[in-house]
């Protein structure tokens, strides 16, 4: 054991912290690069006043509204289908189990854009739709861009949500089902009052993530002429050739919506964390 003469208390001497030269240099380089990027965009071939002018034109705001409406409705459809499919997946009935499995396999297996095109062109397979003798319509009238986008995005989302919900339901201890039964609860009530609120803790973070994906995924609906924000931005630049400016306008709105959603997600997570977290001993 070495004995340093004169030191009895390290707190009495001046301390010189260790230097991290690598970190300092790399941070400096990154800042330099960012400054270069900002400078490039400030002096590049971008007319920033166009960005400002088109940010709030009616066509863009209308597209923004459609983007939000489609995101919310497609996600809602996805969650309803996802919960139903997840419960079917865990059913004792083999037919229900296999149907659920097939659904996930089919709609998770094809690209979303392809599914949108399939729904939109459904009239090629079924020219008319209806209940014989009661009601009939031409498919092209029913399968509007809105309906095709909603079905395509919502049904595909259902396949992903089903897996998330199933993972959430499986994460709840079987003792919770038994305790709910023991106080005389029937299955559906136990699911709603006891199991789902606990599964939510596991379900909410990935669903929030998927919702954010969905906002951006709605841009695919521009290929089937649904008038969401990207579609409308494109229509403007076809006319005035301000391509980058209008793409930046759309980008800004996407970032705004996604930022607001991220904040909302944190709030909802906090609400469903009730009774968790503050661990005061064994579980």
């Amino acid at each position: 054991m070495l004995n340093e003469p004169g030191i009895t208390d390290i707190a009495q001497l001046r301390h010189v912290p260790r230097r991290y030269w690598g970190r300092t240099v790399s941070a400096g380089l990154i800042l330099l690069f960012l400054a270069f990027l900002v400078d490039a965009f400030a002096h590049g071939q971008i007319e920033w006043r166009f960005v400002g002018r088109f940010l709030t034109v009616p066509s863009i705001l209308f597209g923004l509204g459609n983007t939000i409406v489609m995101s919310v409705l497609a996600m809602a459809l996805g969650i309803v289908l996802g919960v139903a499919i997840a419960i079917m997946r865990m059913s004792a009935n083999p037919v229900l189990r296999w149907v659920a499995l097939g659904y996930v396999w089919l709609f998770r297996g094809m690209p979303a854009i392809l599914q949108l095109l399939l729904w939109f062109n459904l009239a090629l397979v079924f020219p008319t739709i209806g209940i014989p003798g009661l009601w009939q319509a031409r498919m092209v009238d029913v399968m509007t861009p809105f309906v095709a986008a909603l079905l395509g995005l919502g049904i595909a989302q259902g396949a992903y949500t089903a897996e998330v919900v199933r993972a959430g339901l499986l994460s709840v201890d079987t003792g919770q089902y038994e305790a709910a039964k023991a106080i005389g609860m029937a299955r559906l009530k136990a699911l709603r009052r006891i199991i789902l609120p606990q599964a939510m803790q596991v379900i909410i973070p990935p669903i929030g993530n998927e919702f954010i994906s969905m906002v951006k995924l709605t841009s695919l609906a521009s290929v089937i002429q649904y008038s969401e924000i990207l579609h409308n931005a494109e229509n403007i630049y076809y006319a005035n050739a301000r391509v980058i400016e209008l793409l930046i306008v759309a980008a800004i709105w996407y970032l705004v919506v996604v930022t607001l959603l991220s904040l909302g997600q944190a709030q909802i997570e906090a609400r469903f964390a009730r009774g968790a977290g503050r661990r005061a001993g064994r579980s």
Binding site: I183, G184, K189
Partner: protein, 255 residues
């Protein structure tokens, strides 16, 4: 039939190929405190879970409070009960689990009022007043706003007992209620159970606490390998067991 709250006749339970219960014959009278003891894997918990229909009996017949468990008889046919009918039958019994199984997203008070409000459809104010009385009875009136994670194991188990009592059961089932507890917390739970027994509650207790069985039980059942080996007053079973396996088990627990 009306004096026996539980009547088991040649009850059997299979899990696939494995037979967990063989030829269980047992009558439990109202007001009785029955302690079931035996080595792990002897079928004690399975029997308890059959009485509460967390498991389905696969042979023999089981009655609880005069009703055939799980079936409705018409002529020589048995119709399986629907889920809501089973839920109704379960209300006769209250169950306390080894691992407490409190609802973690609810406070102690909310755990206790959940059944009365959601299942018995009692008015909320009434349910809260009764829940507070019950929490006071298990010594936890000051913890009614606490979440399960904020309670010790002993406190959680006492809330679980209050939750079961809130359903006004005719029979209380305890599945090794002190086995998951730190030794210094066992006493507080046993004290609540002792109180409950004195108040005249009919209880079936699966336990390794032989001291509790000796003091509180009106009868002790010893089970081994899915069979009832012997039954009798605690003084007799615990002090002068008639069967060598019982003697072996008691010696092993006490050592």
């Amino acid at each position: 039939m009306s004096d026996a709250i539980v009547r088991a006749v040649a009850v059997a339970k299979h899990f696939g190929q494995f037979q967990a219960l063989h030829d269980i014959n047992l009558d439990v009278s109202r007001g009785e405190v029955l302690c079931i003891i035996g080595p792990s894997g002897s079928g004690k918990s399975t029997l308890l879970r059959c009485i509460n229909q967390l498991e389905k009996v696969t042979g023999g017949a089981l009655w609880v409070d005069g009703e055939l468990v799980g079936y409705r008889r018409e002529g020589d046919r048995l119709y399986e009960l629907t889920e809501s009918q089973i839920a109704r039958q379960r209300r006769t019994t209250g169950m306390v689990f080894q691992r407490f199984n409190l609802f973690p997203h609810m406070t102690a008070l909310e755990n206790v009022i959940e059944g009365p409000i959601q299942v018995l459809k009692r008015p909320k104010a009434e349910a809260i007043a009764e829940a507070k009385t019950l929490l006071a009875r298990v010594g936890l009136e000051h913890k009614s706003a606490a979440f399960p994670v904020e309670l010790s194991g002993g406190q959680q188990q006492r809330v679980a007992i209050a939750r079961a009592l809130a359903m006004c059961p005719k029979l209380m089932l305890f599945d090794e209620p002190t086995s998951a507890l730190d030794p210094e917390l066992v006493g507080e739970v046993l004290a609540v159970m002792r109180d409950l027994a004195r108040s005249g509650m009919t209880m079936i207790v699966v336990t390794h606490e032989l001291g509790f069985a000796r003091e509180v039980a009106s009868r002790v059942v010893f089970m081994d390998q899915g069979r009832i080996v012997e039954t009798g007053p605690p003084a007799e079973i615990l002090s002068r067991p008639g069967h060598p396996r019982t003697a072996e088990f008691i010696a092993a627990v006490l050592s």
